[in-house]
Symmetry: C2
Subunit: 297 residues, 2 copies
DNA sequence: TTGTAAGCGTTATCAA
DNA sequence: TTGATAACGCTTACAA
């Protein structure tokens, strides 16, 4: 079953390939009768023009996207990218195999290394153009706010220090504790331990717990609920990532939002510039914000 | 800034384009010295072969995927597709714009109509090859199990009847009630009302509530918890879709699982067959299963 | 081992 | 209004 080409259509309809092409693209004038005939043949043969030949001819663009994990945040960025670049007729192709990547690669995630040689990295700083998030300002704002509400002891539950975001958050937390001269704070590295268990290992119950991931916050909340600890009256819980489950939890989870569709769209704009040969910043820092819900004062 | 092509490389390196091509593809023998020189030029010019020209030449394949919503379930199918087809060097391209689709289109979702003219539909039955889910068997199994545990009154909370899955579930529920001669049951159509509110409108508290979506189940659980109703002791709640939040809720949500990565992989296999011109079934029915957690007996 | 040249399916230019 | 034909960048017989 050979693939039907524009040539076949032309033969069957008894016209030239240029006529078929004109019908296909609606460009130029074609005799209505001929047009009808060509369209009929196209329908009969179920002909589909080769998208590759088209893209090739039009020298269109496509970019490959690799995700460090197939997770909600990353997918939301992917969506923004797909939408904004799709408007420019640029295809965005998610790749799960790192071996066979194309000319323009975007890496979304936190645990890539420079071997990947991406053209743009989102969520992490590598040698390419990097789009990262301002973890410090928002965290600082949160802590200031909590301080003003009389909360003076904190804990930071962190997944570990093996990824970019976790490191940055850790650094930000330390800096903020120092800056506000807060002495009562505790840091727990989970390193793949269950947050439910780690929550119970806290030496004292702090006024607020900041978590480096929403999943951790969810585990902590479960642990506290089981122990009868009131959230947020006794302890405020704040997650990171604003995953979609947050609003369904009881109490609903306050969380820092970052890396959403908007990010994808912004990156799409920069990619467009890169493609057009414009210079773009080596590092782009996007802001984050707290989505306040019931789990925190 | 013109795009660098294989021709440029050949010129600069002082060899023919076939030599460059050979270096690029590692096929055929090339004098090590020449090879070195070519590689150097490639690096210097930052040359990337045009993926379109390559795909075109090799007559590779790509398929477009449209999602009715950019939601977790659909994305998981997309992932399965991407992985399984990626192994065959077939690119999977998510599209958010329905106007400019390619030769092979896969539709994932529940509210498409036949205008789309997809080659394969997942989650819904259209004129093309359709991959759908067996909603009846699993629901029947669930009800039988609950009956055997002494539960004899049921409710079905449904988002409405405007999508394929909801209709099928509704039909299955009715059939099952009839089949088991269950007389105490209640059906609520949400039609975009808040499940939290609808839960409180139930005329009696049934022994088990089946929901057409996990999000509904989450809302119901929240309402019941606020009213001090014990789950699952007083009422079993079962969701549909097994979204990732389910395990984080308290109590964790029992839910029917369908449309996951596996589905994507299976569809990938069928797509491969279609591409190779093999006949495949017009309708493929995949099974679902209950993931039992704390919210149900 | 290297280079020449044909061809992939389409679009666009130009002449008829 | 139509049809020949060149061109897009790359791979691959085939010839040198």
């Amino acid at each position: 079953m050979k693939k039907v080409t524009i040539k076949d259509i032309a033969n069957i309809a008894g016209v030239s390939i240029s006529t078929v092409s004109r019908v296909l693209n609606g460009k130029g004038n074609v005799d209505p009768q001929l047009k009808e005939r060509v369209l009929q043949v196209i329908k009969d043969t179920n002909f589909q023009p080769s998208s590759f030949a088209r893209s090739f001819r039009k020298s269109s663009m496509q970019i490959d996207v690799v995700l460090s994990k197939w997770e909600e945040h990353y997918l939301r960025v992917l969506r923004g990218l797909t939408e904004s670049l799709g408007e420019q007729q640029i295809s965005v192709i998610p790749k799960t195999n790192l071996n066979n990547l194309g000319d323009f690669v975007v890496a979304i995630g936190e645990d890539f290394d420079d071997k990947l040689n991406a053209s743009m990295t989102i969520g992490q700083e590598l040698s390419s153009c990097s789009v990262v998030f301002d973890h410090f300002s928002t965290l600082n704002l949160i802590v200031s706010e909590l301080l003003s509400k009389g909360i003076d002891s904190f804990a930071f539950l962190c997944e570990g220090l093996s990824n970019y975001r976790a490191c940055k958050l850790y650094g930000a937390f330390m800096k903020i504790m120092f800056h506000h001269k807060i002495e009562s704070y505790e840091i727990k590295m989970l390193n793949s331990k269950d947050p439910y268990d780690v929550a119970k290992e806290l030496s004292i119950l702090p006024g607020a717990i900041l978590c480096s991931k929403d999943e951790i916050a969810a585990g902590v909340m479960k642990a506290f609920k089981d122990e009868g600890i009131k959230i947020p009256q006794q302890v405020s819980i704040i997650g990171y990532g604003n995953f979609s489950c947050g609003s369904l939890l009881g109490p609903s989870l306050s969380s820092v939002e970052y890396m959403n569709e908007e990010t994808g769209r912004i990156c799409g704009q920069y990619i467009l510039k890169m493609i057009n040969g414009e210079e773009i910043p080596k590092k782009i820092v996007l802001s984050t914000r707290l989505v306040k819900r019931e789990s925190s004062l």
